[in-house]
């Protein structure tokens, strides 16, 4: 599992030359455009997301149509990505699995960000013991062995959740909550650090002097200004969540076998590597491409959203 994906810490101290005033988003877009790899990452990601979304119209082959006459076949016209040991079409399964992998990534990221922003904002505005206690909790969570705990929680809660909301939704909810629940800490730290520095700034003081309430100062003035790094962290969290989900499925402890996520396809393909390498290569390449694109996208966003960087 990836653990935390490192921050790009490129140091560029040069001051930006004076240029005409532009809106924040136009400026960010101008910076982002210059990062060619981030642009291509965004493009590849968009292609994969669109392909996965329109898949049923694009490739209307059922994911569970068993055809023993076409077992373990390599790529052909009839099956562009080949078939697995039951003769099921891999392209259809991959497109279906991509939906789940990407949905897991996005939902887990949202949970991590919402939770992280709330904890970080509380710690950053309340000083003293509340701040200390929340940061102790954050540090404690950071030192937890995530994958063993993920496995433990899924092992303990899987069956009862399945019974309540059905196998697919149950595993989805569980995986998303657990992955998101172990990824909020970096966001909380970032938000707290931003709050600590922003609350001393003149514009916040001005807002306070004008009689703005504490809630208004936080929601209208501090929070929007602290979201830049959160967006970057969130982007990279999507990649980490996709890897986490694939890891669980690859260990055979994620989604059940009838739901072919990319990690699950890899897990099934593992025992047939010698006769059907394509079966493992395609889902692996997909995970790799998506994660690489998201990482480059995050790198580009970091360059675009960090106003300290003159480009």
């Amino acid at each position: 599992m990836a653990g935390s994906i490192p921050a790009s810490l490129t140091v560029d101290g040069a001051g930006a030359p004076l240029r005409p005033q532009r809106s924040w988003s136009a400026e960010a877009w101008r910076r982002f455009r210059r990062h060619k790899l981030a642009l291509s990452g965004a493009f590849i990601l968009a292609v994969i997301v669109v392909a996965v979304l329109v898949a049923p119209w694009l490739w209307p082959v059922p994911i569970n149509e068993i055809d023993f006459s076409a077992r373990l076949q390599g790529p052909s016209l009839k099956h562009p990505l080949g078939t697995d040991d039951l003769g099921q079409d891999l392209l259809a399964r991959m497109l279906y699995g991509g939906r789940i992998s990407i949905a897991v990534g996005l939902t887990a990221m949202l949970i991590a960000i919402v939770f992280g922003v709330i904890i970080g904002a509380i710690a950053g505005t309340a000083r003293g013991s509340v701040d200390a206690a929340l940061m102790w909790l954050t540090d404690l969570f950071l030192s937890l062995p995530q994958l063993p705990l993920l496995l433990l929680i899924i092992y303990l809660f899987r069956d009862s959740l399945k019974a309540i909301v059905g196998p697919e939704a149950g595993v989805f909810i569980l995986i998303v909550i657990v992955i998101g629940g172990f990824r909020w800490m970096p966001v909380a730290r970032l938000v707290r650090a931003q709050f600590m520095s922003l609350r001393e700034k003149e514009f916040v003081e001005a807002a306070r002097a004008l009689g703005a309430s504490r809630v208004r100062v936080v929601l209208r003035h501090i929070l929007p200004n602290s979201l830049g790094p959160v967006i970057v962290a969130g982007t990279i969290d999507v990649a980490a969540a996709i890897i986490a989900e694939s890891t669980l499925s690859f260990l055979g402890l994620g989604f059940p076998p009838d739901i072919p996520t990319w990690g699950r396809i890899l897990f099934d393909a593992r025992d047939h590597l010698d006769v059907a390498p394509h079966w493992a290569l395609f889902p692996g390449m997909c995970i790799f491409l998506v994660v690489l694109s998201i990482n480059y996208l995050g790198d580009g966003l970091r360059d675009a959203l960090d106003p300290r960087k003159g480009m």
């Binding site: 994958l147 890891t247 690859f250």
Partner: protein, 319 residues
């Protein structure tokens, strides 16, 4: 130094307690009751099952159960594995050395990759070498370990037939042949983990060195006429390693995650694959114990990072 160590150890105790509380809370919140089957079995009289419940203290308040569980863990009574029919601590002691060997060797490999490449790239920022290294690092940590493992097996075991893809502890060879077989079967797990960690650490090292190299004291060292090599190695690298140690310590939990996956791919009989097989066999005592061992290892490596920190940075005194 001894005082500093004791203080760091004392600071580690609350985190261990916190982790054990979290672990126990998860277990206590989990639905299902170990005696459910007994209670539902018509052949077991209700008095017997009630007696058993009282004997194991299932109906005690959560706090009492936590204290009993924690104290039996602390005294070394880790329970009995349902699946393997031996004591859990025995089982873990059998499996732990392999895990530590693979993990340790892969971390050494990662450092051997990351430090030279990171430093070299940072001394020539934006050169061709830097750009290639940067791209490879991005590719390296975007490749999940389970996929690299499969690619390695495809290439080296199936296609080229150079390396075995199953790790065995009962090698038949003796003497030098044993060492050779051991070396051959260790290459792939160690490389898979090492390359992944090395890729992300290369970026840490590069940016940390880049930060330090522009500081005035490095210019001073150059102005004194020191060779470039000693400026970089003795002056810049040592300071640059301080943030790197922090980041590496923060990544420790993730490294154990990678170790579980790698052990599972290459069938290395370590505690990671023990955890996965225990989960598949519903072997709760083993699952709890292995998770706790992983947590202890994380705390232990954070402790080592703290000590390294004090050694690297003379501003941190051992008080």
């Amino acid at each position: 130094m001894a005082k500093y160590l004791v203080r760091r150890l004392l600071i580690a105790v609350p985190s261990l307690i916190g982790i054990s509380v979290i672990l126990f809370t998860i277990l206590a919140l989990a639905p299902g009751d170990p005696f459910e089957e007994l209670a539902n079995n018509p052949n077991v009289p209700p008095e017997v099952s009630a007696n058993l419940r009282a004997q194991f203290g299932i109906d005690d308040p959560v706090m009492v159960r936590y204290v009993r569980w924690a104290s039996s863990m602390a005294t070394g009574d880790w329970g009995f594995s349902f699946a393997s029919r031996i004591d859990v601590d025995q089982l873990i002691l059998q499996r732990l050395p392999v895990t530590l060997f693979i993990l340790g060797a892969s971390q050494v490999l990662a450092l051997l990759i990351a430090i030279p490449i990171g430093v070299y790239a940072a001394t020539r920022p934006y050169s061709i070498f830097d750009q290639i290294a940067n791209t490879l690092a991005f590719v390296g940590f975007s490749l999940p370990t389970f996929f690299t493992g499969i690619l390695f097996i495809l290439l080296f075991s199936i296609h080229l037939d150079w390396l075995p893809f199953v790790y065995r502890t009962d090698l038949a060879e003796t003497g030098w042949a044993w060492w050779w077989a051991q070396f051959k079967q260790s290459i792939m797990p160690i490389t898979v983990l090492g390359l992944f960690q090395g890729a992300s650490w290369t970026r840490f090292v590069r940016s940390a060195v880049l930060d330090v190299i522009r500081l005035d004291y490095v210019t001073t060292a150059r102005a004194k006429g020191l060779t470039e090599r000693s400026v970089i190695v003795k002056h810049a690298l040592r300071n640059a390693l301080i943030p790197v140690v922090t980041l590496v310590a923060l990544e420790m939990p993730g490294i154990f995650g990678g170790a579980i996956v790698t052990e599972q791919i290459f069938r290395v009989p370590g505690i990671g694959s023990l955890l996965v097989s225990a989960i598949l066999a519903n072997d709760t005592p083993v699952i709890m114990a292995v998770t706790f061992v992983f947590a202890c290892l994380v705390v232990f490596f954070n402790l080592i990072a703290d000590i390294l920190y004090g050694w690297l940075d003379p501003r941190i005194t051992y008080r």
